[in-house]
Symmetry: C2
Subunit: 216 residues, 2 copies
Amino acid sequence: MSLITLERKILEKNDEIADENRKLFSEMGILALNLVSSPGSGKTSVIEETIKMLKQKIKIAVIEGDCQTNLDAERIDALGIPVVQIVTNGSCHLDAMLVRDAFEKMDIDNSTLLFIENVGNLVCPAAYDLGEAMKVVIISTTEGDDKPLKYPAMFRNSEVLIINKIDLLPYIKSNVKEIIKNSHLINPNLKVFTTSCTSLEGLNEWCDYLLDKLKI
Amino acid sequence: MSLITLERKILEKNDEIADENRKLFSEMGILALNLVSSPGSGKTSVIEETIKMLKQKIKIAVIEGDCQTNLDAERIDALGIPVVQIVTNGSCHLDAMLVRDAFEKMDIDNSTLLFIENVGNLVCPAAYDLGEAMKVVIISTTEGDDKPLKYPAMFRNSEVLIINKIDLLPYIKSNVKEIIKNSHLINPNLKVFTTSCTSLEGLNEWCDYLLDKLKI
């Protein structure tokens, strides 16, 4: 019983801070996206390719979350984009306070696209609002068709689904139609993009969508 | 402060039950393996192919863990192997009590190989002892070389690493040597197998290892 109470308190406190983050982001015209996925589905690669395509047009910043290492922040830093790495030291998700702390360390202008790359975990980050405008769930084609059914909370709580690594489709059993069908069974409103960070297929449509969301 | 205390109590209680499970498995000559990985790395496929290779030689049973669905249990059931599905209803890991409950539902003989397939999550299951003889961490080549560094607890707490989907290596940037190097930086004692459930490469070595562990 006490666990439930305590978890509820933690989530309530998290939601309060998330609401404050959201208000701040909104006032500054910042579009904050919470990128969630399994480890290795290509979150950082999608961010890298989006940066390459859009950095001449818009301001972009990144908050990186990982259990350990600053490897992802180094990849973003190499592109000349403001980035703060949060190392959770084993914790399985980012929370709103960690994002606020990271944001305060950054010198971010108004009207910026802010990627928040969560810890690779298709379960726990679904429960934690960071103050984002929306969650973007990424799934790699190699993970199989059944993941939306097995991990429904993440797909239910996201607005966008990116199906990544479509260049590998000729070599695997997965089927994009089946992934989309299963995703829409869980959340019929999911907006879907299919991408490859190797062939760059589908990334133009994703970038156009972001520019539209930023009203540029 | 109270969260830490409570988590410790939960983990202590879990460890007590895990020790009881381990004692029972040991008395019955059951080799219990806790299979852990990201979603979609191929845990169920590795179990399926192992069953096909070994079911004429040894007794095998499976406990399946998932946030939702009994899809994996259906795949094992189709092979004529005793299986119990644990649906965690969103929880991010199995615990020792869930495994005990599942085990009590099964009619398992002595001297059985028991696969416990955990929820697909490279973070949280690392902290929960189920009473297994060992954790086997599976990583798919498509997840990238850096995962052992980013999710070290899981690699530290495992005895065996299976690098799966090696048939996809010609089409991706990942490098098996680099995955092994990074894994051994975290845990120099990890025993490594490289496998493909498509080409079946490497599965014989894995099965020979299991027979040796079962002293058959």
